[in-house]
């Protein structure tokens, strides 16, 4: 059996495809749109419009980067407030032009730093959560690697959350949990298990709807399965009227951690 720690290692493995790999294979005619119109452009988030099996979709991805140089320029996929605000702008355009939103997540969390705080990291994430809760077009979020904290959730308020076999999604990174709970970052292995952060854990408690096989590392095959599933699911979700869609989306999260009374 694969342990949670092994899944985290796989999600972080050098050479594992980042968001760009999936975007190249899933979407055609993709045009990247830059900037939040308020402060700047955050390279940790790639956003724009393209086609999925011919149909226009808005795509928003947390991109860690592949080469060292690119990783640095993309801040290792940790977004600043301007990144979340760029995503928000694109989501509002998706609503205007009645096209669904596909988010791809791979991040160690929202960036923590003086600038991010000064520009309102908390406010930026909060606004995304509230706007996504009411967005009247379908949203599907796919976790392809790591996803931690509000920095992942800020693109995760979706109608469907899908995860790759070795993707992980957690309230905090295992190292962060270990250093806060046990004052010992070295206990990350234990934290991986304790946090219940694997795709399989989240499927079991209804926080993810589907887990995709990684086909023993054949990621072209993964893309092909993902593409078919996205196309089918977006057709199904697009059949729902705006009211039904947002009511169901709220109900999806409303049930999490609630009490049966």
């Amino acid at each position: 059996m694969t342990t949670a720690y092994e899944r985290v290692q796989a999600a972080r493995r050098k050479g594992r495809p980042t968001a760009d790999y999936y975007m190249q294979r899933l979407f055609t005619d993709f045009l990247e749109m830059h900037g939040d119109r308020r402060y700047g452009d955050d390279p940790a988030i790639v956003a724009g419009v393209g086609r999925l099996t011919g149909r226009p979709v808005t795509v928003i991805a947390l991109e860690k980067g592949v080469t060292t140089e690119e990783k640095i320029s993309r801040n290792f996929g940790s977004a600043h407030p301007e990144g979340y605000r760029k995503a928000l702008r694109q989501m509002k355009l998706a609503e205007k032009f009645r096209r669904p939103v596909v988010c791809i997540i791979d991040t160690a969390g929202a960036f923590c730093g003086v600038g991010a705080e000064e520009r309102g990291q908390g406010q930026a994430i909060a606004e995304n959560l509230m706007v996504m809760m009411g967005l009247t077009v379908p949203i599907i979020t796919v976790f392809i690697g790591e996803g931690y904290s509000g920095g992942a959730l800020a693109l995760g308020v979706a109608d469907r959350v899908w995860m790759l076999e070795n993707a992980v999604y957690s309230v905090i990174s295992p190292e962060g949990a270990a250093s806060i709970v046990w004052k010992d970052a070295g206990k990350a292995t234990e934290a991986c298990e304790a946090l219940h952060m694997t795709a399989q854990d989240l499927l079991a408690c209804g926080m993810a709807e589907r887990v995709f096989s990684e086909e023993d590392g054949d990621f072209d095959k993964v893309c092909s399965a993902l593409g078919t599933a996205l196309a089918d699911e977006l057709v199904a979700l697009s059949a729902l009227d705006a009211e039904t869609l947002t009511v169901k989306r709220y109900a999806r999260f409303r049930a999490m951690g609630g009490e049966e009374t």
Binding site: M1, T2, A110, C112, G113, V114, A116, E117, E118, R119, G120, Q121, G122, Q123, I125, A126, E127, L129, M130, M133, G134, S149, G150, L153, A154, G156, V157, Y169, S170, V171, I172, A177, I180, V181, E190, A194, L195, H196, M197, T198, Q200, D201, L202, A204, C205, M207, R249, Y250, F253, R254, M256, G257, G258, E259, E260, T261
Partner: protein, 283 residues
């Protein structure tokens, strides 16, 4: 790998709940000047440090007593108790201690109240319960309060204090950010007022959800307000923090809060806000 713990029914009342042990404590420490004060010296007042003027930590129940019209507070959703869904090491013991420290079963109190004659729905987070950390019960109770206020066409006043997510509840904690945001949105769409008062400290997942989603965001003086706490930024980024970083005064200057309101003006300003925005009831 299906974990049976995830399906545990959330009904197990925790053993060892006790009545407020904290009220018996004779002293209170000022977070700013570290002065230790006899509790009797500030009880019955606005609860500010007589030496430096900083607002002192106030338990949720005593804040409600201080803020609301006498006899007006009707508590709602009193039966919720945290569930150790993940079987997280040490969590059950931590909950027992938090209940002893705070004299409350969980990290937030909710209810209906009147402030200066103005009816409202009110939530007040509890600093003595793991520093208002957001677990499933906190999210659920706040969500239910917003749903009740939406149904009854009432404005919401919320006092926040939080160290952030309750890590021991894992993803169940993170999801409360989305859940509460959905409830705030539905309340807002009905044209109803939500005013938040951010107290020291309001950080992490609470800042990145309902604390920053209010129509009017007030803050107590000198409160720490931010997504990532200053120590984490200093340690991980080795960045020197500017003076007053993340304090209310700093956040006001950066444009993220509307007003800083000292304790002795809060009741008056909140009742003015309630009157200025009407009682709702438009829907």
């Amino acid at each position: 790998m299906i974990n049976k713990a995830l399906f545990k029914k959330p009904n197990n009342r925790l053993e060892g709940e006790q009545e407020a042990a904290r009220d018996a404590e004779p002293t209170v420490v000022c977070a700013e000047c570290k002065d230790t004060l006899p509790r009797a010296a500030v009880a019955g007042t606005d609860f500010v440090c007589p030496r430096c003027g900083t607002p002192l930590a106030m338990g949720a129940r005593e804040r409600i007593r201080w803020l609301t019209d006498e006899g007006s507070f009707q508590e709602t959703e009193t039966g919720h108790r945290a569930v150790d869904r993940l079987g997280f090491p040490g969590y059950a013991e931590k909950l027992v201690k938090a209940q002893r420290d705070s004299g409350e079963p969980e990290g937030v109190l909710t209810g209906l109240a009147a402030v200066d004659g103005e009816p409202c729905a009110l939530f007040v987070m509890e600093p003595y319960f793991i520093m208002g950390s957001m677990g499933a019960v906190v999210g659920e109770k706040i969500t239910r309060l917003f749903e009740l206020a939406t149904q009854e066409c009432l404005p919401v006043i919320g006092y926040t204090v939080s160290g952030g997510a309750r890590i021991q509840e894992g993803m169940f904690s993170l999801m409360q950010m989305a859940k509460t945001s959905g409830a705030v949105l539905r309340h807002s769409e009905k044209g109803l007022l939500y005013a938040a008062v951010l107290t020291h400290p309001t950080t992490g997942g609470v800042v990145a959800s309902f604390a920053m989603e209010a129509d009017v965001i007030l803050a107590e003086p000198k409160a720490q307000i931010g997504f990532t706490g200053p120590r984490v930024i200093e340690q991980t980024m080795r960045q020197k923090l500017p003076p007053g970083f993340q304090r209310s005064e700093f956040m006001l200057q950066k444009g993220f809060i509307d007003r800083i309101v000292p304790r002795n003006a809060q009741k008056k300003e909140l009742s003015m806000l309630l009157k200025l925005h009407g009682r709702g009831g438009r829907a």
